[in-house]
Amino acid sequence: MIFLALVAQTVRISMPYLFASAGGVLSERSGLIGLGLEGYMLAGAFTAALGSYYGQNPWVGVIAGVGGGMALALLYALCSIRYKADQVVVGVAINLLAVGATRFFLRLVFRSSSNSPRVPGFSVVETGTGFLALAHNPLIWMGALSIPAVAWLLYRTPFGLRVRAVGEHPGAALSVGVPVPKVQWIAVALSGALAGLGGAYLALDQHQFSDQMTAGRGFIALAAVIFGRWDPVRVGFACLLFAAAETMEIRLQGTSQIPGQFVQMIPYLLTIVALAGVVGRAVPPAALGKSGD
């Protein structure tokens, strides 16, 4: 019973990570740094709440979340692919933009600096371990599938082969007629869509948007991408590992003698230790970050 509840909690916590890092893998394998995942997710959360509010239907929210994440990702693509701006700079800016813009429109649309009104979501009432509620949330299924889907896309489709080639050696891809920018545009747009779904999950699970509700989850997702060495399956496990550490943190905090602050460090310390001891030197896609001049 307890164990099942822990698993259910881990699965729930892992959702935004899975969505966003699946997107991160795609973007980074095509050579574009996924620094903006946090921003895509936040934008997706906001538009999802907006869509669900006006559509009075969570599915409208899901579609709007995809749109919101993708819109920001396309801006990133425009700057870094079309205009060859420094990816790190634009990525940082995308995150600031997402925070500012969601707040601005939150004020404009809902006259609040912190929350949207309650919007329709997918949740059901359940008093057991939480599995029933999981199974009834279609976004959970989509999140669980996002990693296998990206793995399939990368390793089993012509598009995936092109993504991998473009991220390693764009010149080589170009020389055989692969439209490099187009491949990158698509990969980035998909990454925005996936991260947007992660945001939609957060907003619809809470039945509302609140200011900066992603709270750094996009960065954790990026950490998972690096941790999993850009391989979708390993990245998926990294997400689950982070989520499990957070579950442990939640269960230990307040029930043990250790000050809460130290318990709250666990997931982060674990990441550092694992990174230093287990993963070692990670070799990114060779052309990662090099779309500029």
């Binding site: 509840a5 912190s114 949740s123 008093t127």
Partner: protein
């Protein structure tokens, strides 16, 4: 200072600077906003709001308002304490009020009074928390009670201390699971974590959770809905966040206090000093109305009223720090 197009020199102008979270947080800041809004309507005053960003913006916000010639400048949150103190000395002709202003003490432990033009509006959150703690223990049908705080800080620990004392008063062998969402101000706006903390507590057999965590608490209500359990709101009556699942709310009369301060300024009766709002002043209270009456048996309500009277009479000592709680 700069003059803004919204200043009307003939009106009574009031300035308010919000805490982190700003307007629309459905608790603390909104309560202040409510009081100000009422004052605009009923007293015809003009109110201007500023939502500050980083640390130095708090003082800057107060200063911009003071320099613009506001009659009264209000800072919402204990974090404004030093800034208010400073400005009240610099602008002796402007009135100031600080919600949750924390009064310093001298080496002998006596409170140092604030400047004469500064009203410290303090609330005995621990008293209200004590009551909702007792209520939670009486209707919880479980030896485990939950508390979820936002950022770990002395103010929030005050809620926790009162709550735990209330629980233990009616149920000495009950256990309070107290958790915090984080260690930075972001912990007041992370409903995702609030929900997971609450779900974990409910799953461990907790039936009632009291939150003092700003927007993070919205996640707690969401968890209460999803698992069909109870949660207790904070600062304002949060019934509408999860109808049927809000046992009660520990209401802080921030709106009344702010309204009152504005009214005194308008009437010319404003005086500085320490104003403490406890159960006795009805400055903190628990909600008991048509929405939640069915959740609280009459006997429980009667006992609660008794405890309330005992606290007011001084028969029950309510701790305001964690060290004092068992």
């Amino acid at each position: 200072g700069a003059t803004s197009p919204t200043i009307d020199p003939n009106a009574v102008n009031i300035g308010i600077v919000f805490d982190v979270g700003g307007r629309g947080d459905k608790s603390f800041n909104d309560a202040a906003y409510l009081g100000a809004e009422r004052a605009e309507k009923e007293l015809g005053v003009h109110v201007r709001f500023i939502e500050p960003g980083d640390g130095s913006d708090r003082e800057a916000g107060l200063r911009i308002l003071a320099a613009e010639g506001m009659k009264l400048v209000v800072g919402i949150g204990f974090i404004f304490t030093d800034d208010l103190n400073q400005l009240a000395r610099e602008y002796p002709n402007t009135d100031f009020a600080g919600v949750d202003y924390s009064v310093a003490t001298d080496s002998a432990g006596n409170p140092i009074p604030p400047p004469p033009n500064l009203a410290a509006l303090k609330f005995r959150e621990e008293e209200g928390s004590f009551l909702v703690g007792a209520l939670a223990a009486m209707v919880g049908h479980s030896k485990k009670l939950g508390f979820i705080g936002g950022m770990n800080s002395p103010l929030i620990q005050k809620f926790q201390a009162g709550y735990a004392a209330g629980v233990h008063y009616v149920c000495p062998d009950c256990q309070v699971i107290a958790q915090y969402a984080g260690v930075t101000p972001d912990a007041f706006r992370n409903p995702g974590v609030g929900k997971e903390l609450a779900l974990a507590q409910y799953q461990q057999g907790v039936n009632v959770i009291f939150h003092a965590s700003g927007s993070t608490g919205l996640g707690v209500f969401e968890a209460a809905r999803q698992t069909d359990r109870l949660a207790i709101g904070v600062d304002a009556d949060q019934y509408s966040e999860a109808p049927g699942h809000v046992l009660t709310s520990m209401v802080k009369g921030v709106d009344a206090a702010v309204f009152d301060a504005i009214k005194r300024v308008k009437d010319g009766t404003f005086k500085g000093g320490i104003y403490t709002f406890g159960l006795a002043q009805n400055g903190v209270r628990y909600v008991y109305d048509e929405h939640n009456r069915n959740l609280i048996p009459d006997s429980v309500h009667a006992r609660l009223e008794q405890i309330r009277a005992d606290i007011i009479a001084g028969k029950i000592k309510v701790p305001s720090t964690l060290g004092a709680a068992p």
